[in-house]
């Protein structure tokens, strides 16, 4: 008769707390970095900010969101090896006859179950979102990924608190120490413990290099699995096409006008020719998508500040930017006063020396420094302020 799996059936000496703790430290670092950069991204996307979201450095969001996706990807090999090292513990028998110990063990196992399930969920949905593949029907990625980020980081902190004495002890001892090993974990593996830990770090590095080219131009050629090669109209990729946004007809219509609306009343309507006749400036700014890819371009157009001045609105006023898009969560976005006042915040009419491509937001799009890509509204039809 085959007995159910038990911890003593796993004999590799590589499945040791000394390995789990060393990989776990870096997994903790990756998760923390991922969590903090995720919070930054959510804060940046708020319609208004209790503490103003800065416009400098212009590449700030590009960096934090690139780190978010890269640290999440790097966490995958770390999590796999960490879970491999502690896998036998999944089969530990519960102390059924001692109610007090059973309750404690049940709580600990439950919290680890939550940690593992939430961690796998976060990494899986994050990777799927970067690849823009949504094989679920009901839940919202944004809401769920945000909520479970708190669950996974909280469960991780609880796990660290429970294990802290063991973690401290095994980290203070040499990696080959066997004090905390299971009695049957004695069979030498194909690698040394140090070798296993190093290979895990190498795997995290390899995966990062093979994917990070979507945001790090220097890695584009070797990032075989980056979700973007960096190519696109005028050398910049796009996220939402004019066709998907159903704006092709309205954006190319001769009737296009940019409305400047103050307190609900249109005070100016500008044709594309009139926009082009206004003073033009050029700024190098990144477009940094929430899904982790980014690219820097030379945008030219009219500053939002100048447009607001045309409407007689003082600099520093909050602006609502509306797209020609008739549907979609981001057809209206809020441009906080400090961003609208920045001299680099443009209603762009061109990119990299070319007129704006339809898929980049022709005839006019918003581009502001240090702003999440989803808020860089394309096919802008009006700028509205309330004084």
């Amino acid at each position: 008769m085959i007995s159910p799996p038990a911890p003593e059936h796993f004999t590799s000496r590589l499945r040791s707390p000394t390995v789990a703790a060393r990989v776990g430290v870096w997994l903790g670092v990756a998760f923390t970095l991922c969590f903090v950069t995720g919070l930054i991204s959510h804060y940046a996307q708020l319609p208004s900010h209790p503490i103003p979201w800065p416009t400098s450095p212009s590449w700030g969001y590009r960096l934090t969101q690139g780190l978010h996706v890269s640290s999440g990807l790097a966490a995958i090999p770390l999590l796999l090896v960490k879970l491999w090292a502690v896998y036998p513990r999944l089969f530990e028998r519960l102390p059924l006859r001692a109610p007090g110990r059973l309750a404690l063990a049940g709580l600990e196992r439950g919290s680890i179950g939550v940690l593992v399930a939430a961690s796998v969920f976060q990494l899986a949905t994050g990777v799927l979102n970067a690849a823009q593949w949504y094989p679920w029907r009901e839940f919202s990625f944004r809401t769920t990924h945000y909520a479970l980020a708190w669950v996974s980081i909280g469960a991780l902190a609880l796990h660290i608190a429970v294990k802290l004495p063991v973690i401290r002890d095994v980290l203070a001892r040499p990696i080959d120490d066997t004090t905390h090993d299971r009695p049957t974990a004695v069979t030498p593996g194909p690698l040394t413990r140090r070798g296993l830990v190093r290979v895990t770090f190498v795997a995290a590095g390899v995966l990062t290099v093979l994917t990070a080219g979507s945001t790090v131009p220097a890695l584009r050629r070797i990032s075989l699995f980056g979700v973007r090669s960096g190519r696109g109209p005028a050398g910049i990729p796009i996220n939402k096409s004019a066709r998907a946004a159903v704006v092709t007809a309205s954006a190319t219509s001769a009737d296009y006008r940019l409305s400047l609306v103050v307190d609900g009343t249109p005070v100016r309507e500008l044709t594309l020719a009139e926009l082009r006749a206004l003073p033009q400036v050029t700024h190098t700014l990144p477009i940094a998508c929430v899904e982790g890819w980014s690219a820097s371009g030379e945008w030219h157009g009219v500053t939002v500040r100048d447009l607001l001045a045309l409407a007689g609105v003082p600099a520093g006023t909050d602006v609502i930017v509306t797209s020609l898009q008739e549907h979609g969560a981001f057809r209206r976005t809020s441009l906080p006063g400090n961003v609208a006042a920045d001299p680099r915040t443009l209603l762009a009419l061109g990119l990299n020396g070319e007129p704006l491509a339809l898929d980049h937001g022709y005839p006019a799009r918003l581009i502001a420094p240090n702003r999440p890509g989803v808020l860089q509204t394309k096919w802008v039809s009006s700028l509205e302020v309330t004084t």
Binding site: I76, P77, L80, W84, Y87, L90, V114, V116, A117, V120, F121, A124, T125, A131, Q132, Y134, W136, R137, E138, F139, S140, T143, T144, L148, W150, V151, S152, I153, G154, A155, A157, I160, A161, V162, L164, G189, P190, L191, G195, L196, V199, T200, V202, A203, V206, L207, T211, L224, F225, G226, V227, R228, R231, G232, P237, I238, N239, K240, S241, D359
Partner: protein, 141 residues
């Protein structure tokens, strides 16, 4: 110190749980629950089980000189393959956006796999030869 970390952790997790529960309807919550359970099972059952089987087969079938290179390859190639699974089939590709998922992912993955096999074979052969060369000296021990 431990108590403080535990309280903060429990608070964060509870806040996340409340966010998940309060911002979604029942249908969404059921689906999230299914995904959470499936994720845990996918690791503890499928991935961990596959690794166990591969390790067992590797130990039985591979010559000793190939064991370490094959293990290293399994960790690097295996975790990379798992992580890039969503791009391999270009499942999120859209006909209206040629800038998305615009690389030959499957070809790259096949090349990576072939290169991994070649490196493992070459390193194993080199290790086997090195062991043979040094066999007389170690044999005297």
């Amino acid at each position: 110190m431990r108590v403080v970390i535990a309280i903060i952790g429990t608070g964060f997790a509870a806040y996340g749980g409340w966010l998940a529960l309060s911002r979604q309807d029942v249908g969404q919550l059921v689906e999230v629950g299914l995904w959470l359970a499936a994720g845990g099972l996918a690791h503890d059952g499928v991935v961990a089980g596959l690794v166990l089987v591969v390790a067992l087969l590797g130990r039985r079938l591979l010559p000793s000189a190939a064991q370490a290179p094959a293990t290293i390859a399994l960790i690097v190639w295996g975790s990379t393959s798992l992580a890039v699974l969503p791009v391999l089939g270009r499942f999120g590709a859209r006909s209206d956006n040629p800038t998305l998922l615009d690389r030959p992912y499957l070809t790259s993955w096949l090349a990576l796999t072939a290169a991994t096999v070649v490196v493992v074979v070459l390193v194993s052969a080199w290790r086997a030869r090195r062991c043979d060369d040094s066999a007389p000296t170690t044999g005297e021990d």
